[in-house]
């Protein structure tokens, strides 16, 4: 009668054992799958941060800047954008965050004449900036290269974008 009503604990245990056996047999495949999943998650995070940084930098340079000044700093390039609105200057750069584990992240600083400077991180806390380099191509074009790295897994990717200025020029 019992057999018609459902499964016994013993039956479930045997099923579980079989599952484990199968899992052990295909362990390499599962491991590979887990690694791939981790990579995908990391790539998603890296892309998300890169697009966010790139879009912010691009819209500022492309539409709102009348003068872009490139300066070298310890962690790459500091981009200083003099806004069309002459009261405002925006800068993008990498800097180290001091703490138990110092890390380098991308920052946006906004300076309005007569007011204190406002600084905000652009990248996520788990993503480190390995490279933030800008190269002048011509008077109206520059090439931005960012290398980002996931802090925990070390996975990194480089993103490159060419940005044209609509309303200004590069110095």
């Amino acid at each position: 009668m019992n057999s018609k009503k459902g499964f016994m604990l013993l039956e479930i245990t045997i099923a579980f054992m079989l599952m484990c056996l199968l899992f052990a047999t295909f362990y390499q495949a599962f491991l590979q799958m887990a690694v791939s999943m981790r990579k995908i998650y990391d790539d998603v995070e890296l892309n998300r941060v890169a697009w966010s940084v790139m879009s912010t930098v691009e819209s500022e340079i492309m539409y709102n800047s009348q003068q872009v000044i490139l300066q070298d700093n310890k962690y790459g390039t500091r981009i200083v954008c003099r806004n069309i609105g002459p009261q405002r200057t925006v800068a993008f750069y990498c800097s180290k965050v001091e703490g138990t584990k110092p890390k380098v992240v991308v920052y946006k600083s906004t300076q309005i004449a007569g007011k204190p400077e406002g600084v905000n991180p652009l990248s996520s806390p788990v993503v480190l900036a390995e490279k933030f380099q800008v190269e002048k191509i011509d008077g109206r074009t520059l090439c931005l290269e960012i290398e980002l790295k996931i802090e925990t897994t070390g996975r990194s990717k480089t993103f490159t974008e060419v940005i044209r200025l609509c309303n200004g020029h590069v110095i």
Partner: protein, 310 residues
Amino acid sequence: MQRARHLVEQKQGFIVLSLLLLVLVLSILAQGIIHIVKQQAKTQQEYIRHRQIAILGTELLLGAVNQEQQNNLQSQILQEITLYPGAEKIAPQIIVERRKTLPLRAINIAIKYKDATWKMQQLIIEPPGGSLHSIYNNLLYSSKEIIGELPEKLLPNGYPLSKTMPQMDINGYLKYKSNTLPSAGTLQEMGLLGRLYANDSGSSSGPYVIKANTTIKGNGILYHNNPIKLGEGSSSTGKLWLICNDEIIIGDNVALENIFLYANGPIFIGRNVHICGIIISAGKIQVGEGFVMRGDRSVLEPFLTTCYMN
């Protein structure tokens, strides 16, 4: 052991069940990964597409403005372009609007993508009537009277003094405004962005007042249907056009560089005002003591606004 064998013999289905469970877990995992990858690919494609459209639109606009300055550009639908990834077709459009009475040229780029249209605009604006209009032979002109002491070289010449000033279609500026008139905070924090500022014709706005001691930085055209009042001690540094359908009142100790003042009503200028530019009024002009003016016709050169998303 005997019991287990007995169970296996009696219910062989539970082995299949365990396999099914495993397959279920694996398929859920695989589904999850596929979903994430698909989402990622879709987002990436959208990101790339928006960048492509922005770059294409911007380049087209810059090219169109250059061409317009050299010869007359015509509105046109450009050849269809296929964008990859996704092999999506877009047909950029150049729309040129010319308003001869202002005169003004608006160059628009429109790119339809999915349900939305990406638009970018740049305006080439001349002073009312055109910068070559004979009224601008005067550095300072009133169609009624000028009250107050003026340096001799500023006295009207070139354009015959008459009771009526030629009608200029300045209301047309409203259609092409990109921003509303800037508040004191905006002037303080941003300055002018090289655009045409005006309030909606429907809005019941009174005079536009610029607070005392304001420094107006940047280039811009401020148009208002009601009076414009410039507070005392104010100054401007960029190229500034104040165009008003009513009166313009300029406070004491104001210093304006590269200024073009145009009013369909009277213009009242306070004491110790320094102006470098052109003043035109369809009403009277009243100047206070210590008025210093340096005529500068370069302010009449066409005003090329910045490129902006529309």
